[in-house]
Chain length 180, copies 2
């Protein structure tokens, strides 16, 4: 079956700090037409950082869309598209936790919700070399936490880790280290 859709027209309804909303008219594979709502996003990075005691670093932060404090691995947007994702990941880890990592291994990238947004998240695993000071942005408030990897795997499998990228990174880290 032919699957491609063709853009007929595109307009930007909102261009904000993080998201841009575009409303496009498209031609469907059968010649019909439809409206597509697209949220453009600058892409993200996230790091599963393991201490020498095999503990993973987490941050707890208030996630406004849920009005809730959420447990996640250190993560952030790609601020500067000219810098590779890995450099952004190193920067986010340092800013949010103060950790400086080594032995970075890519855990792949993924589309967070391809039905409506072009956000791609790049995941990494690393070992923690040492800690420096946290360097949070002005409007960023996070608490750092450590959880043993095997406990984190149990939490990910038992619905105690609500964040998607964090679930994926934990499971991939454990599978790569043959920890399951």
């Amino acid at each position: 079956m032919k699957l491609e859709e063709k853009t007929l027209s595109s307009k930007t309804l909102y261009d904000g700090k993080i998201v841009r909303l575009e409303i496009d008219d498209v031609e469907l594979p059968n010649g019909g037409s439809a409206v597509r709502e697209v949220i453009k996003h600058p892409a993200g990075v996230a790091v599963a950082a393991l201490t020498s005691d095999n503990e993973l670093l987490f941050v707890r932060q208030f996630r406004y869309p849920f009005r809730e404090v959420v447990l996640e691995i250190p993560a952030g947007k790609i601020d500067d598209k000219s810098t590779p994702p890995l450099e952004n990941a190193k920067r986010e880890l340092l800013e949010e936790t103060g950790a400086v990592g080594f032995n970075y291994v890519p855990l792949g990238a993924f589309y967070v919700s391809p039905g409506f947004t072009d956000e791609v998240d790049f995941l990494y695993m690393c070992r923690v070399d040492h800690f420096e000071e946290q360097r949070l942005d002005e409007d960023e408030f996070v608490n750092v936490e450590r959880i043993p990897l095997d406990k984190a795997v149990e939490m990910a499998l038992n619905n105690m880790i609500p964040d998607g990228k964090t679930q994926t990174a934990i499971l991939k880290t454990a599978l790569l280290l043959k920890n399951v």
Copy 2:
């Protein structure tokens, strides 16, 4: 550290077919203020459906935000909030692949990108009982495919599955069935 943010004002800039864009002014934990861009989303469901030959059912469909045909497990929005996620998952599996499942097991829920959207995806695993006719929506075009579970795990670990929920569902299914 105090983490909560307080809503000072909220306005809806766009209310569409899938997404609603809200721009809120918030009070930060330190008393300062910031703007939060929130994409409201009706939540989603996805199903890892295994045939009697241990093959997973996939669909390939054009995902407009990426202008690309993407390989995913059957999935969709929750159309009717009064219907439980599981019923929506069964409906999507039937509509997109024609499969009728049994032995449904929840694989947990996850936030797709808690920094900017309240979308939650509910994942399930099931066995395929039998096939009926696909029942696609008018503007839906998908090709169905089967991939052996062990091959799918390899693909998820080697960055050959770009979709996030699909990666997570494959890894959880394999871990639950001790297939890794």
